[in-house]
Each structure stands twice: as C-alpha cells, then as structure tokens.
Symmetry: C2
Subunit: 181 residues, 2 copies
DNA sequence: GTTGCATATGCACATTTGTGCATATAGGCT
DNA sequence: AGCCTATATGCACAAATGTGCATATGCAAC
C-alpha cells in the first residue's frame, strides 16, 4: 500500500484533486511510480475513510465539480511514522535479466533490438534529468526540501548512466558472440 | 506472469522438482527474483495444464515422493516466443525515493540509518558479485550461455557500484544539511 | 454537425503476488 | 520423550495492482 504514501507525499506540496494528482504523478513522482487515475481515486477514498485526508467539494460551472483533498494532521503523522520504518529494497524483477540468464534459449536478435531500445530510452532520460539539474539545482543554495529532490534526481542520473554504460557493453558482447560463433 | 518464464528459464538447465526450483531460485535467479515455494508450486501446476512442462512422479523411501518437472517442446517454444517480445522496463518503485521527495516531512535520522543499511548491503553484494566474477568468468573463453550470465553479473555489479556511490554522496548531503540548519 | 480532447470521477473484474497454515516422514540432538 | 531440521507438496485467503468500461460537460477544430 505504498501508493497511499506516494499520494500523501504529493499532498504535502498542496491540496489537490484526484485529477491533479494524476497529472502530478506524471511529471514528478511518476519518474519512478506509474499508475492510472483509477487507482489514485480508489486510494483517495480509502485514505479518507482512514482519516489521513479530507475532501472538500468545489462546485464549478462549465466543468464537472471536483473534490479537493487536503492532508490532515493524522495524515502528516502517518507519513512521519512511515518514514521511520526502513523501506524494503525494491526487487529488480527485470525480465531482460531472465533472457540473459538463458541466452542460448532465446532470440538473440530480438534481444539486441530490445537493448538498443533501452539504450535510447536511458539516454533520453539522462538528458532530461541533466537538463532539469542544470535548470533547477545547479549551484543554488538548498532548502531541506530541495536537497531531498536533488538527491532523488542524482539517484536517477546515477541509474541512467550505469544503464547506458551497461547497454553499450552488452551490445558489444553480443556482437562479439556473433563473430565467434 | 513472468514468474512462469523464470521457472521455464531455470528448467532449461535441467529437470527439477518444485523444491529444487525453490533452492535454485535462492542461489541464481533469486538475485533479482525472490519468491516463496508456494508460488513456485502454484505456477508449476498452471504450466502443466498449459502443456509447457511435464511432471513425472519419483517414488522415494525415507523422503516424500517428488514430482520432477521437465520442459516440453511447447515450453521451449513459449520461451523463445516470449523472448521476441520486448520486456517492459521494471518500474523503480522505491519508497526511499518517496521519502527523499518529501524530505522535509520525514524523519531524517531514520532515513540516514536506512541509507547506511543500504550502503552495507550494496557493498556486500558487490563484493559477492566480484568474487563470483573472479572465480567463474575472469579471462575464460565464453559460450553463449556463459556470456549471457556474465552480462547479467555485470549488470548487477554496475547497479551495486552506482548505488554505493549514491549512498555515500547522499549521506554527505544529509550531513551537510545538519550542519547548515 | 460531428469528432475529438480536456476536465472530472468512479465501478467491477482480473491478475499478480504475498503469506499463514496444513501435512507427512526420517534422522539427529538434548 | 520431545523438538528441530531437511525433504516435499500444496490450499486458501488477502492485499496490491492493472485494466476495461461508464458517465457527463464544454470547447475547439475540421
């Protein structure tokens, strides 16, 4: 149920509707946490019955009415409490590693294509992260909040750089296999 | 349902029982895919009804009888077919990144402890991988099968090295925050 | 004028994964 | 005698997540 915490974390920023949360997820937390709007609405209802958030209906004309959710003190407590318990390391369940493990039972050309696609993706990601870094964090004094986000961003850059290097090496090894066999 | 493929991949090595698969998972695929024996037995049954594996009962005395599962030609086809479809990149749903994102709503000392624990873990892992590398792969001529596993191992080493560097930097940044605030 | 998009919320079903519990035998330890 | 461990398999329930479908309005584009 960590989606609950992801939502609470977003709501520390400001009160939001489910719709806005969906978009916020896309642009921020969504870098590492993808989900559809249905799950967010579902979770918001649960969080409300648990008292971690409050809902307030806002009547609009021209558009459907909306429900603005606010973090309650209980929600804040829950977040802080949650933060004291060590998180389980995420398991790296990557089918691609499975394919590598049984490389001789697998379509190697398809795998090469797949690695190429990943390489593209990771390069684009790294590029994006570096631009965000340059625009928002390079050489500025940092609040606690900003420092945390910078650490997250660096985490992302670290991952992408490693993955890029690995993809390049892996492609080389596949080529080498082709030449020797 | 990628657990199914994880099992099939293991069975390319040799026919095995659910019990042996459980142990095989611990020592090989388990580096990136943890699961309990119950799930393996459950999945084996499904794979059998789907015709991807065959079961053969072996009567033992002293121990309970066992069911040895063998990969069928249909199972081999299924593996190859699966390998041609690009795998979705695994989403990096790490609660720790969430904690970083809301660093000012979070218990920073607990987070520091958590990062320290991770650092320990990643160092131990890297050490283990490097020893496996030295023992099994360093400077040997490589079959297709071994090359694939080497690529997987390098993937692991890449990740651990990146994570170690990140943890060290992150701890430094947390200390810096403590000193300035 | 109708097609498509942005706004806005949600139900219901299915799949995947996790976990507690159950069972059975043999051998070794205390 | 009682308890733990290794071997060996599995059910049943719960939680988390994914996905197809449903609804309603207004505005812009074609």
């Amino acid at each position: 149920m960590a989606l609950a915490e992801a939502i609470l974390v977003c709501l520390t920023e400001q009160p939001m509707t489910g719709y806005e949360l969906t978009k916020a997820f896309d642009s921020t937390v969504g870098f590492f946490w993808r989900t559809g709007h249905q799950q967010i609405y579902r979770e918001l209802q649960r969080l409300k019955t648990e008292g971690a958030v409050d809902a307030r209906e806002v009547v609009q004309n021209g558009k459907p009415n909306k429900l603005v959710y606010t973090l309650t003190p209980a929600g804040r407590d829950r977040l802080r409490q949650w933060s004291t318990i060590p998180t389980e390391r995420p398991s790296a369940r990557d089918d691609m590693l499975l394919k590598l493990y049984a490389l001789d039972s697998v379509d190697k050309d398809a795998l090469r294509q797949e690695i190429l696609m990943r390489l593209d993706h990771h390069r684009a990601r790294l590029d994006l992260y570096e631009r965000i870094f340059g625009r928002r964090y390079a050489g500025k004094e940092t609040t606690t909040r900003e420092t945390g986000r910078l650490m997250g961003l660096k985490f992302g850059m670290m991952m992408e750089r490693g993955l890029i290097a690995w993809c390049e090496e892996a492609l080389g090894m596949l080529d080498q296999l082709d030449r020797t066999v």
